[in-house]
C-alpha cells in the first residue's frame, strides 16, 4: 500500500509505506519536483556558503553547508574538525538496486546536511510499532557543517554495465616502496566521506546511509578521524599532525580558483565520451598511515625538524622565520649544508621539485585504540583531492617512498582511490548522475 510520490523522490517503498500506514492512513502529495533551497531554520536567515565559497572557519554553527552546487561539499569546504569515512562494496548484482539506493541516499544525505532527520519524522513519527527511519542520535544537534561526499572506486565500473562510463584516470594506484597494505583496509566500490564539527553528526550520517543500503552495499572498511590535519581555506590555521608538525601549509586552498582548476577539479577535456559525467569532480586518494609515535617521541627536536624541513613551533621552512615565508631550497646553514635537508619532507613533496604537481590535502588524525603491544594504533588518515591521481599523487608518493626519512616512523597500511563526481544540480541525484 505504498503511496504514490509524484514529488520526484524515489524512496524505499516499504519505508514509505510504513510512514503512511503506521496509523492506517494514506497520504499523498502532489507537486512539482522541487529541490531544497540553501537556507534553513537557524534563527536567522542566512545564505549558506556554497561549496565554492568560503566563510572563515566554516559557517556559523546553525548554518548548513549547501548540498547542491557545481562541486560536492567536503572538498574545498573549510576542513571540519571530525570525519567518518566508510568504504563499501556493492553486494547486490542488480544495477537497479544500486541506482535506487543512490537516489535514496541523495535524499537522506541532503536532509542530514541541513540538520534534518534522514526521513521526515524518522525518529519517532512512525509510531510505537514502526521501526524508526532515523536513528536519532543527531536529534537536537546543529548541522555542524556536515558535508557528505560520495566517490566511486575502479572496481565498481567492472559491473552494472558501467564500463563505458569509467573515467580513464580511475584505475588502482601502483604499489609504493615500503607499503604494508592490509587488503581489508584497501579499495572499495563506493566511499562516503562525512565531515562535521561534531563527531556524532558525522557518524550519524554514515550510519543512516549504511542502513538505507543493507542488501545493496556492505561496509568494507571505515575510519574515524578525530582532528583535521589540513586547512583548505586561507582563513583556517594550519593544524598539526600527531608528530606535532604543521604539514600542508602550501595546500591548494578554496580561494585559489586557478589552482583548483589546475590541480583539483576534473576538466571536461580530461573525461571525453562516456566519462563526461565526471567533469567538475575530483579524485580522492585515501591512505591510512600508521605512525610509530612512541619512536618519534624519543627523537630529538633537531632531527624531527630536519625530517619535516620545518620548525616545530612556528612551522616556518627551515632557514626562514614564519610559516608562510617563501621556501628557499638553496639556503644553507653556517656549516654549508642545506638549511632544508635534501631528504626533508617539504623538499620532496614540494611542487617545485615535482614538476609543479600539487594536491588538495584534507586528512585527519586518528587513534584506533592500541595495538596490543603497549603502543597507540595512531596515525594520519591521509585524504587528498586532485584532478588525476596518477599524474599527481603517484609521482609525489614515489618521491616520498624512495627518499623520505619520515618513512622510518610511518607505514602505509591502507589505500584507496575513488572518483568523486561533481556536485548535483537541482533535481539531480547520485543514481541518475552515475548511470546517466
Amino acid at each position: 500500500m505504498s503511496s504514490p510520490r509524484p514529488d520526484g523522490h524515489a524512496v524505499d517503498p516499504s519505508r514509505r509505506a510504513a510512514v503512511g500506514s503506521a496509523l492506517g492512513v494514506a497520504a499523498g502529495a502532489a507537486g512539482a519536483s522541487l529541490m531544497y533551497a540553501a537556507t534553513r531554520n537557524s534563527g536567522h536567515v542566512a545564505a549558506a556558503p556554497s561549496p565554492d565559497s568560503v566563510g572563515g572557519e566554516g559557517g556559523p554553527v546553525g548554518t548548513p553547508i549547501a548540498f547542491r552546487g557545481a562541486h560536492q561539499g567536503g572538498i574545498v569546504t573549510p576542513a571540519q574538525d571530525r570525519m567518518h569515512f566508510v568504504a563499501l562494496d556493492v553486494v547486490s548484482e542488480s544495477a537497479e538496486d544500486l541506482r535506487s539506493m543512490l537516489t535514496a541516499w541523495t535524499r537522506a544525505a541532503e536532509r542530514m546536511t541541513y540538520g534534518a532527520e534522514a526521513a521526515p519524522g524518522g525518529a519517532v513519527g512512525l509510531g510505537p510499532y514502526g521501526v524508526p527511519t532515523d536513528t536519532g542520535e543527531a536529534l537536537d544537534l546543529p548541522p555542524a557543517n556536515l558535508t557528505i561526499t560520495i566517490g566511486y572506486g575502479p572496481s565498481l565500473f567492472e559491473r552494472f554495465g558501467l564500463a563505458g562510463r569509467k573515467p580513464e584516470a580511475l584505475h588502482d594506484l601502483p604499489a609504493f616502496m615500503g607499503d604494508d597494505l592490509d587488503p581489508a583496509t584497501c579499495g572499495g566500490d563506493i566511499c562516503i566521506q562525512a565531515c562535521a564539527d561534531d563527531p556524532q553528526v558525522a557518524v550519524h550520517a554514515v550510519r543512516n546511509l549504511i542502513r538505507l543500503g543493507f542488501g545493496v552495499v556492505a561496509v568494507r572498511w571505515s575510519q574515524l578521524g578525530f582532528g583535521r590535519t589540513s586547512s583548505t581555506s586561507v582563513a583556517q590555521k594550519t593544524p598539526r599532525n600527531l608528530f606535532g608538525f604543521k604539514d600542508g601549509t602550501n595546500n591548494v586552498k578554496a580561494e585559489d580558483a586557478e589552482g583548483l582548476a589546475q590541480h583539483v577539479w576534473v576538466a571536461p577535456e580530461d573525461v571525453p565520451g562516456g566519462a563526461a559525467w565526471m567533469a567538475g569532480g575530483s579524485y580522492l586518494v585515501a591512505r591510512r598511515i600508521r605512525m610509530h609515535i612512541e619512536v618519534w617521541d624519543r627523537t630529538n627536536l633537531q632531527e624531527q625538524q630536519d625530517i619535516f624541513g620545518r620548525g616545530k613551533l612556528e612551522g616556518e621552512p627551515l632557514g626562514a622565520k614564519k610559516e608562510f615565508d617563501a621556501i628557499n631550497f638553496a639556503a644553507t646553514r653556517t656549516d654549508g649544508q642545506p638549511a632544508i635537508p635534501m631528504a626533508a619532507h617539504i623538499r620532496l613533496a614540494h611542487a617545485d621539485n615535482l614538476n609543479g604537481v600539487r594536491i588538495l590535502r584534507r586528512g585527519y588524525n586518528f587513534t584506533d585504540g592500541s595495538d596490543g603491544l603497549g603502543h597507540l594504533n595512531a596515525g594520519l588518515f591521509f585524504v587528498a583531492f586532485m584532478r588525476d591521481a596518477h599524474a599527481q599523487f603517484v609521482p609525489m608518493q614515489r618521491a616520498l617512498a624512495a627518499k623520505d626519512v619520515l618513512n622510518e616512523y610511518i607505514e602505509h597500511t591502507g589505500s584507496a582511490l575513488f572518483a568523486c563526481p561533481p556536485g548535483l544540480a537541482d533535481g539531480a541525484d547520485w543514481g541518475t548522475q552515475l548511470f546517466g
Binding site: D7, L23, G24, N41, V91, A116, P120, G125, Y129, G215
Partner: protein, 383 residues
C-alpha cells in the same frame, strides 16, 4: 537467550491497534472533495507562523494546500496523539504551493505542524476531526488465521523438542558420547526454531539454554550447554546424569507452558525479527555453540522459525504491503541460498571451518533480510 518475547508490550499494542485509525488505499485521487467546505484547507507557512485556514474537518479525505511564503524550506505534518505521523509533505521550497491529501477516518484531536527549516518540533496547532467513530473493526481474519497456524506450528515443534531431548538425555546417560554429540544439534534445532516463545518463561531459559558465562550469580550452570561442554571438552562428569535428568524435567515443563501460550499477531512479527537478532548476536558470531561449533544448525533453525512466522502472516502482508513481501522474499532467498552452500551431509560445516569471508557474507545477507523483516511489525500494528 536475549531476545525474549515478552507479552506486555504486545498487549499494549493490541490496545493501541484498537484505537488506531483505519485507512484505505492510496489517496492520490481524493474521494471526498477535501474538507468540510468542499475546498482544500489552506496553510500559509512562513518562517515563524503556520496559519491553517480552519482547525476542524470532517473525517474522510482531508485536503490541505500548503503555501510556503517564507524563506526556508518547509514541511507540513498532521500528527495523531504521541507525535505519530498521520501524513506529511516535505520539501516545500519558498514560494511553492503543494496539495496534500490525508485520509483520517477516526474522529478526534490531531495536530498540524509546519516545520520551517525541516528541524525541531515545528509550529503546532490543534486540529479536530469530527464525525462518528467508525464501527469497531472486526478482527482481521488473515491475522487470526496466522496466529492459529503459527501456534499449531509452535506446538508441533515443542512436541518434537521434548521427544528429541528425551532421546538425547538417554544417550548421555548411557554414556554414548559420539551418538549424543550427533543428536545434540538436531535436538537443539527445535528449541532454536521457537526460541522467542521458549525463552519467555523466566528461569527455564537459563536453566535449559544458559551459557557458562551468562549464568546469574549463584545459579548453577546446567542444561544443554553444560552437557555440550561435557561431551566435547571435559568428558562426562559425575553429575552429568543429574544434569541430564534436570534438563529433561525443565524441557518437559517448558513444553507444557509453551503450548499454552496465547499469541497475538504482533508477537509473530516481533518474534520473526527476534529470531534473526538471535542469529546476529549469537550464532553468526560463533558464541552460542562454543564447544561443539554447531552454530550453523542453530542459524538455520532460527531462520526457519523466522520464515515460518512470516509465512503465516503472508496472506495479510500481501494485501497490505506487497512491496515488502517481495523484498522479504528476495533477501530471504539470498540468505537461504547462501546458507545452503555451507551444508555438509545432514548438517552444516562447523563454525571453526568458516573463514572470515564466510562469516562476513552470512552477516551481510542476514542484515539485508533482517532490515525487511523488521518492517513487518509496523504493518501488523496498523491492522
Amino acid at each position: 537467550m536475549s531476545a525474549r518475547l515478552t507479552t506486555r508490550p504486545a498487549l499494549a499494542l493490541l490496545g493501541a491497534a484498537g484505537l488506531a485509525l483505519t485507512g484505505c488505499g492510496g489517496s492520490s485521487s481524493p474521494s471526498g472533495s477535501g474538507s468540510a467546505s468542499g475546498g482544500p484547507i489552506t496553510v500559509n507557512a512562513t518562517d515563524t507562523e503556520c496559519q491553517v485556514s480552519t482547525a476542524t474537518a470532517p473525517a474522510g479525505t482531508i485536503t490541505f494546500k500548503v503555501t510556503n511564503t517564507g524563506t526556508k524550506i518547509n514541511e507540513f505534518y498532521v500528527y495523531a496523539e504521541g507525535d505519530r505521523i498521520v501524513g506529511e509533505v516535505e520539501n516545500i521550497t519558498p514560494g511553492i504551493s503543494r496539495d496534500f491529501h490525508v485520509e483520517v477516518t477516526e474522529p478526534g484531536t490531531y495536530q498540524t505542524a509546519c516545520k520551517p527549516g525541516m528541524v525541531g518540533d515545528g509550529i503546532r496547532a490543534a486540529f479536530t476531526v469530527t464525525g462518528d467513530a467508525p464501527a469497531a473493526k472486526t478482527d482481521d481474519e488473515d491475522l487470526k488465521t496466522a496466529v492459529t497456524g503459527y501456534s499449531r506450528w509452535v506446538n508441533s515443534q515443542a512436541d518434537e523438542f521434548l521427544k528429541e531431548t528425551t532421546a538425547f538425555v538417554a544417550l548421555v546417560k548411557a554414556g554414548k558420547v559420539e551418538e549424543a554429540k550427533a543428536a545434540y544439534p538436531h535436538a537443539r534445532s527445535y528449541w532454536e526454531r521457537i526460541e522467542p516463545v521458549a525463552e519467555s518463561f523466566g528461569d527455564l531459559d537459563p536453566m535449559i539454554d544458559g551459557r557458562e558465562d551468562v549464568t546469574a550469580e549463584g545459579m548453577e550452570f546446567t542444561g544443554y550447554h553444560r552437557l555440550e561442554k561435557d561431551l566435547w571438552v571435559d568428558g562426562l562428569q559425575k553429575d552429568s546424569n543429574a544434569i541430564a535428568d534436570k534438563l529433561l524435567a525443565d524441557v518437559t515443563e517448558l513444553v507444557t507452558k509453551a503450548k499454552s501460550v496465547e499469541l497475538n499477531p504482533l508477537q509473530l512479527a516481533n518474534g520473526s525479527k527476534a529470531l534473526l537478532d538471535e542469529i546476529a548476536t549469537g550464532k553468526v558470531t560463533g558464541e552460542e555453540e562454543r564447544y561443539s561449533h554447531t552454530d550453523l544448525w542453530d542459524f538455520e533453525a532460527n531462520f526457519e522459525g523466522s520464515k515460518q512466522a512470516i509465512a503465516e502472516l503472508r496472506p495479510f502482508l500481501e494485501k497490505k504491503d506487497p512491496d515488502l513481501v517481495a523484498k522479504i522474499d528476495s533477501t530471504g532467498k539470498a540468505l537461504g541460498d547462501l546458507l545452503e552452500t555451507y551444508r555438509d551431509g545432514d548438517g552444516f560445516k562447523l563454525y571453526t571451518d568458516l573463514t572470515e569471508d564466510d562469516v562476513k557474507k552470512l552477516t551481510q545477507a542476514l542484515d539485508a533480510f533482517s532490515e525487511n523483516v523488521a518492517q513487518v511489525a509496523g504493518v501488523v500494528a496498523k491492522a
